[in-house]
Structures are given as structure tokens and as C-alpha cells.
């Protein structure tokens, strides 16, 4: 669907995006992660035609961005960061204007605006000036704007930034709802968001791709380890250490004392082997009481920090 090759963007001497190459498949929900200033927004701005690449190309379907910019813009719906809109226009007038520019037929227009107002929960603010709306509503107007022409590709730049938790959940719901049929690219620096909504994640740091894959794949390849948390009653740390650290694949073992007589055990294991069965068998042989047992993947946060703080 989208093919990005050797994409580079310089602002004077500053290299914002550095030779990025990747493909996005049809129907994929792609999360673009990275710290502030990593080049996420610059990349999205090049994809949407706002900025011209210094080097490299973007191909959307069969269109090349240098030659068929207008056709590509027609395929894309774009919600810019912090949804900058015309503050003195009414929400309805704004959407109507967008519908005109997107060349919706006049008989289609009203029903489309109604549907989007329902989908984005805009009905009660349609006749208010955009400048007077709260941030959450502005964001929703921006989302309705992006979806106006029912585009095949949706590009959302930090769609949930500055929203309260309820609004974040609502926007996420909307994205999930529409994501079933469309290719969506979301940029964010909120990791849980990417984890919750995206099929695939690309982590960018200093203009370069440092990780690319599904959340699970990134977690596994990036860490090589996973954690097992166990809570045991009537066990002492010494015997537990003796018993469990002899299992092959256990890298490290840590203890924490919770309530009285309950011992928290934290095992770090190599991700090459699943040793949960073996741990259970060992515990069964003793007279410890097993209260809790769960596996924990290395969180995306850790991986993100490691990948983006290197060098």
C-alpha cells in the first residue's frame, strides 16, 4: 500500500529523517513511536505532502509523491498534531467546507457529516465556533475532518495527546472501529496506546528506525528475557533460591516480602525456553502454598528506553 524508500529530510543542517525504508500493508494499523524530536511528525508531514523530502521517495499504491501529489492527498486523511483548525468557524461550517474541498456530492454531503458527527460524538457542538471547543472536541473535529472522504489511509499524528483518560478511550474506540477496513498510521509517544491499538510498531530515534515489528516480536527480540512472578506462602527465601535457581534458563532470582508469611519471587528467564512447567513441578514437590503465578513480558517502556537512549 505504502512504500517508503530511503526517505531523508534535512532542515538546513539538521537531519530530521535519515534514510528510512519500509512498507506498510493494506489494512495494517501502524504505530510510529519515538521520543520527542525523533522525526515522527516530519515523516508524516512528508507522507501527507506538507513537506517535500530532501531525498528518497514515497509511493502510495502506484502513485509517486513527486509526480502525483494530488492523487495521494485524495487517498489520505490526515489529523495533524494538536488538530490546528480555523477558530472562528463553526464546527458544522468547517466540516461542510472540508466536504466541498474533498468534492463530496451535495446529496451525499449532509448524510456524511451526520454520520461522522455520530461516530465522533460531535452532535452537541456542531453549531459552536471551533475556537470555543475543549481540546477533546477539537481533536474529534479534526478526526471527522480526516475521515471526511472515507479515505483508504488515515494518518493520525498524536491523536490522543492532551486528552483526558475517558476521551483517550473514546478516541481509541473510534480508531478501532474504523481500523477494521482501513490502513492507519498513528504516531504517538504514549506506549500503552500503541500497544493497545496497533498491529505493528516502528520505533524511530534520531530519524532512524531502531525497531520494527509486532509488539510481541519487538519485546522478545529486544529483550531476550521474560519475568515470572510467583507468590508463595510458608516458604523461606533460602530454600526457594536453592530449589528454583537450579532450573536451566533461570538467569536471576529476586525476593520481596509482602504480607506476613507470603514471599514474592521474581524470576528472570531466558526467552528461548518456556520453563513455567518446570517451575510448577518443582514447587509441587515442596509443601509451599502457591498463591500466584504469572508471566510478565518485559514492558514496552523498558525496551523503548533502551532503544532510544543508546548512543
Amino acid at each position: 500500500m505504502i512504500h517508503v524508500e530511503n526517505l531523508t529530510k534535512y532542515f538546513n543542517d539538521l537531519c530530521a529523517v535519515d534514510q528510512i525504508t519500509f512498507d506498510i500493508q493494506k489494512g495494517e494499523i501502524l504505530g510510529l513511536l519515538g521520543p520527542n524530536g525523533a522525526g515522527k511528525t516530519t515523516f508524516l508531514r512528508m507522507l501527507t505532502g506538507y513537506l517535500a523530502p530532501t531525498l528518497g521517495t514515497i509511493r502510495v499504491k502506484d502513485y509517486i509523491i513527486d509526480e502525483h501529489l494530488l492523487e495521494i492527498k485524495k487517498l489520505l486523511g490526515y489529523l495533524p498534531e494538536s488538530a490546528p483548525l480555523y477558530h472562528d468557524m463553526l464546527a458544522y461550517d468547517y466540516l461542510n467546507y472540508i466536504a466541498d474541498v474533498r468534492e463530496l456530492r451535495s446529496e451525499q454531503k449532509l448524510s456524511r457529516i451526520r454520520r461522522l458527527a455520530d461516530l465522533c460524538g460531535l452532535n452537541e457542538v456542531m453549531h459552536q465556533p471551533i475556537g470555543e471547543l475543549s481540546k477533546g472536541y477539537k481533536q474529534r473535529v479534526g478526526l471527522a475532518h480526516a475521515m471526511m472522504s472515507d479515505p483508504e489511509i488515515l494518518v493520525l499524528d498524536e491523536p490522543t495527546s492532551g486528552l483526558d483518560p475517558n476521551q483517550i478511550v473514546e478516541i481509541r474506540e473510534i480508531i478501532k472501529k474504523i481500523g477494521k477496513k482501513k490502513t492507519i498510521i498513528i504516531s504517538t509517544h504514549i506506549l500503552s496506546e500503541a500497544e493497545a491499538a496497533c498491529d505493528r510498531i516502528i520505533i524511530i530515534n534520531r530519524g532512524r528506525i531502531v525497531a520494527d515489528g509486532s509488539t510481541e516480536a519487538i519485546k522478545q527480540t529486544a529483550s531476550g528475557e521474560y519475568l515470572v512472578n510467583i507468590s508463595l506462602q510458608s516458604a523461606d527465601s533460602k530454600s526457594v533460591e536453592r530449589e528454583l535457581s537450579s532450573i536451566e534458563g533461570v538467569v536471576d532470582i529476586g525476593f520481596s516480602n509482602g504480607e506476613e508469611n507470603i514471599l514474592g519471587v521474581r524470576l528472570t528467564c531466558k526467552s528461548s525456553a518456556d520453563i513455567r512447567g518446570e517451575i510448577y513441578r518443582r514447587i509441587k514437590q515442596t509443601d509451599w502454598i502457591l498463591l500466584e503465578f504469572h508471566q510478565e513480558r518485559r514492558s514496552l517502556e523498558n525496551i523503548f528506553r533502551r532503544l532510544t537512549q543508546e548512543n
Binding site: 513537506l51 495533524p80 490546528p84 474541498v101
Partner: protein, 234 residues
């Protein structure tokens, strides 16, 4: 061009949503009305020569005030990004905004039609120079709009856009009155650059292709400059 018309509609409407249009139109009518009618009865002549003599100077203040927000506001609010990522070409955007400004100028001139009508009731008015004058006013408004639009595309600060636009328009208006300061060899060229010189020709009722060509070329240069400035921003 269909897309340019959508942008035109939006821009034109937004003038009248904000108080800008009403303020600018009232000031324009007050200033021109006052300066036209105060000496009118002293001269005791049924013509609009005074009105048209004044117009280039008034326009050099009023037109930049109308055009200053066209790009500067979008640049400072950030809606410029929305504008450029919509399926429209830069040409559509420039034309839409330019037309909005020109049509606004026409709307602003409409109420002044009361002057020739009043005058024609008071005496024998020669309509030729009046028609020529209004034609020239639209051309002048167009040329100044193009300049204002260009300046507005260069800065995100509306005040700078206004002052710089005003300075250029005012300079073009006054240049042929400053000629005695300049060396003899430059007189011809610089005299030709004067907007007032060409406007006064038309407003005498003489429609010369050279004058029309002058205004159209100023429009072209301004709009092309805007186009280049926008392309440079990518």
C-alpha cells in the same frame, strides 16, 4: 478552479464572520466620504475626480489590512498544514485567497456607488470617467491584493504583513510624485512603476491597454511570488 472556488467561498465568508470586514468597510467609507464631500461643494463641480484622486492612498492602507490575515493567520495558528494536506494545489489556494480579497474589495466599493448617484442628482455627471474609475479601482484593488497576499505568505505575524504590505503599496502610489528627486535617466521607468499614474489615467475615462497591462503584471508578480514562497516552505 472548482477547488479554488471552495477556498474563495470559505475565505470570503470568514471576513464577514469576524468583525474585520465591518471595521474595514466602515473606516473606508468614513475616510473616503469625508474627504470627498468636504471640498465637493466648494468646487461646485459634478464629478468624482476627488474621490478617485484619493483612492490609491486609501487603498494602500485598507487593502493590506484586508489581506494581512490570509496567510499569516494560517501560518501562526497552524491551519496552514491542514490547507496544504488537502487535495488542492498551491495554485488553487493562491487563487482562492486572491479572489476572496478582490471580491471583498468590490463589496467595499459597492456602497460608494451612492456618491455618483448623489452627484448625478445634483448636476450633469459625465459617467465615462466614473465607469473608468471603478474599473481602475478594481484593477488597483487586485494589484494591491496580490502584493498584500505575497507579503502575508512571508510572515506569520499579521502586523508585519500589514505594515510591509502598506509600505509597498504606499511606495507604488507615491513613486511618481517623488520623481523630481531622481536622476533624469530613471524617470521613464520609475514613472511607469507608479500605481497612481496608471490609475489616474484610467479614472479619466481613458482605458489604455498599457495601464491595464500594468495592473495585470503587478497581480501576476505578486501571485507568482506567493506561489514561490509557498513552494519554498515545503
Amino acid at each position: 478552479m472548482r477547488k479554488a472556488s471552495h477556498i474563495f467561498k470559505k475565505e470570503f465568508k470568514s471576513y464577514f464572520v469576524s468583525p474585520i470586514a465591518y471595521i474595514v468597510i466602515s473606516i473606508f467609507l468614513l475616510v473616503t466620504g469625508w474627504f470627498f464631500f468636504t471640498p465637493f461643494f466648494l468646487f461646485n463641480q459634478a464629478n468624482l475626480r476627488n474621490f478617485f484622486a484619493l483612492l490609491p492612498v486609501v487603498f494602500s492602507f485598507v487593502v493590506p489590512a484586508v489581506t494581512m490575515r490570509l496567510f499569516s493567520e494560517e501560518l501562526s495558528v497552524g491551519s496552514y498544514e491542514v490547507l496544504l494536506t488537502m487535495p488542492v494545489t498551491i495554485f488553487d489556494i493562491v487563487m482562492g485567497k486572491f479572489l476572496a480579497s478582490v471580491v471583498f474589495m468590490v463589496a467595499m466599493l459597492m456602497p460608494t456607488l451612492a456618491y455618483p448617484i448623489t452627484v448625478s442628482l445634483l448636476g450633469q455627471l459625465d459617467w465615462g470617467p466614473v465607469v473608468g474609475g471603478y474599473m481602475g479601482a478594481v484593477l488597483l484593488g487586485g494589484a494591491f491584493s496580490a502584493i498584500g497576499l505575497f507579503v502575508s505568505s512571508l510572515t506569520r505575524n499579521q502586523i508585519i504583513a500589514f505594515i510591509a504590505g502598506m509600505a509597498i503599496c504606499f511606495g507604488l502610489t507615491l513613486i511618481d510624485k517623488m520623481l523630481f528627486f531622481l536622476p533624469q535617466s530613471l524617470l521613464g521607468i520609475l514613472g511607469y512603476l507608479g500605481a497612481d499614474y496608471h490609475f489616474q489615467n484610467i479614472s479619466k475615462g481613458i482605458v489604455d491597454s498599457r495601464d491595464i497591462l500594468y495592473f495585470l503584471s503587478v497581480c501576476f508578480v505578486g501571485l507568482y511570488g506567493t506561489h514561490l514562497a509557498m513552494q519554498e516552505k515545503r
